[in-house]
Symmetry: D2
Subunit: 216 residues, 4 copies
Amino acid sequence: MSLKALFLNCTLKASPEPSNTQALIDKVAGIMGEMGVSSATVRVADHKVRFGISSDEGEGDEWPGILEQIKACDILVVAMPIWFGVRSSVAQLVLERLDGTYAEGDPVTGQYPLYGKVGGVIVTGNEDGAHDCCANTLFNLTHLGCMIPPNVDCYWVGDAGPGPSYIEAGGDRHLYTNRTARYMAHNLVWGAKALRECPIGTDLRALDAEAGEVSG
Amino acid sequence: MSLKALFLNCTLKASPEPSNTQALIDKVAGIMGEMGVSSATVRVADHKVRFGISSDEGEGDEWPGILEQIKACDILVVAMPIWFGVRSSVAQLVLERLDGTYAEGDPVTGQYPLYGKVGGVIVTGNEDGAHDCCANTLFNLTHLGCMIPPNVDCYWVGDAGPGPSYIEAGGDRHLYTNRTARYMAHNLVWGAKALRECPIGTDLRALDAEAGEVSG
Amino acid sequence: MSLKALFLNCTLKASPEPSNTQALIDKVAGIMGEMGVSSATVRVADHKVRFGISSDEGEGDEWPGILEQIKACDILVVAMPIWFGVRSSVAQLVLERLDGTYAEGDPVTGQYPLYGKVGGVIVTGNEDGAHDCCANTLFNLTHLGCMIPPNVDCYWVGDAGPGPSYIEAGGDRHLYTNRTARYMAHNLVWGAKALRECPIGTDLRALDAEAGEVSG
Amino acid sequence: MSLKALFLNCTLKASPEPSNTQALIDKVAGIMGEMGVSSATVRVADHKVRFGISSDEGEGDEWPGILEQIKACDILVVAMPIWFGVRSSVAQLVLERLDGTYAEGDPVTGQYPLYGKVGGVIVTGNEDGAHDCCANTLFNLTHLGCMIPPNVDCYWVGDAGPGPSYIEAGGDRHLYTNRTARYMAHNLVWGAKALRECPIGTDLRALDAEAGEVSG
């Protein structure tokens, strides 16, 4: 069965405004497409996603539909712009909503719904802050259950201070960003295949019970 | 062949001063031991490691010997105390020295020496700062080539403000820390086995060449 | 003329849900009240604040009213819960919206609207992450024009892992948090008075012109 | 009495290797010199500074001499390169050593030795990470007692990925960096003067006693 990648575009801007982050998503998705991976993107700002930390915050909350797509993918990439040196509020909102998945552990193993998926990150900004966005987001994804292969971040930033963004600056031809886009696509696909061949067998419930005894 | 784990203890204190970080390392190494994994710890402050970003800074530098052990392990865990809310200077020094490995890519695939290894992180502090230590360190390890399974961080911190450290506070009986010590040990072992069964085939050199053409 | 403090409560929860962050705001505001400072709190989640980086995003955006209150205060305190180790999405949203003030520089000096104000930060979380919230938020406030006196952060966090929050845990009686609440209140009041007695005279426009010549 | 600025250059490289961070220090110090401020720089890597968290770690430790200079200055600027997205190990070492000053509070007010000083930060890197360096370092300085005026960070970074550093890239002519160098110099001088005219009167010991009663 072919692999499915889901990109969450966490730009602050709703469609149809142009999104620099989408432009870099398209590049990575294109490389994955050549490898036989099907991709979908959810532009979160196009949806009514409520603030909160549960999987359904009621009153027209559109997160449940997005969460279904997350649960159905093999490769999850959170993509975001930088604002004030850190990830966008929309990206933070997405992570907060994923907090709800901790409560949806597998009835047998206790593994959270994101176990069995690989995670990656895409960042664009006109300057500085990509490392902070990548580090926090990938770490959060490991807490939620994702496996993180090597070199699965792809970012573009300009030099110090205000300046043009990815599209306007011709980031499309930036050698480092293009290299890491390839590394990312190939290593995410490797990771998704590895998880199918060698599923994670860890029984979190059994380990919880053991830890409880020790601490008793 | 059995798996080998290497723990780098990045406490500021040389032996024989007691190290809180070592106490938590011992717990995780003990769990891995029950799983048949052999462990070794390098207490970095016991060695003369020079500041720099190459693999050998000369003049009595003891990093080359540590780097050999890193290259020989299957599971690499960077363990550290928190100071001023972030990872210790010794932990930062270790990462800086690993910068030198980027220059030692495999002659065929270009993969860096840490490709094929799984990475994890252990943090102790009397209060706040563990997430920042974990996030930056795990992200840095992915850049260097490590694969990061889910839930491979284990930390203990006390509540806000100054207070007792891990050993004095009886952190040994802290339920959350003990649970995550088990998750970490089991998922690192899973990851090391998965990397043996499904080695990463990505040819970084070939991808560099492709990216170069595109950007030309 | 008496000093005015404004607290922006960046909890994810709208009224009337109890807010741990509000409980700690109330403590700091109470201490300031004893010093003759009047305080107001805006609970941002009670308002329709749109995502964006301008001072008015249209279509029912309630940010302009909040921004007026910000411009009218002497002491600005951004208060927030921690989620996933970093500041809440609502806090990030507030900072993003303040980006619009860069465009509203004084016609003579170019100083941004937040020049002449002191900034502080309050953080609550059930565990780890306060330093990251404080550091980013205070730094962002300096970029926007605020002066930051010493010891103007006040936070409460519990020990590692899930657990009770500020109110339930009796954080109200936490010695370190109570000390820093006092330091914060007193040093913010000092700072606001100092800014009145010694206003910042820096002419950003003139400096821009100088820098431009040098770089020509 | 004229103002004294101290710059701590936290490059990893000892003299006489060229230091990009020093080049940017020289620019800021030059602007301050035109304003009548005398400057000195300590290149920390030229000294034998031991790891630790006290003000004197014995055995040839050269920190006590540096600390004397810190205590004698009006304006303290911590300057550093970025490595792996965060501040250099030498910068972290400097902060760790400043931890010892918490124990040297004024016998009457309890104010730490860095009270009454203004703090600033300079960062250079070939790419991304300046915001993280600035935020953590300025926040740490506020904890230690420094006051932070607006716009007292000055950094230069290149665009995404490896590339030339400040000197080689001609960062000397970078408009944003040059603007912020001026803002920083002028606002630090304003802050140092304001602290002389309006010294911070906060009695930390009295506040500790009050907080203690509340928590009793």
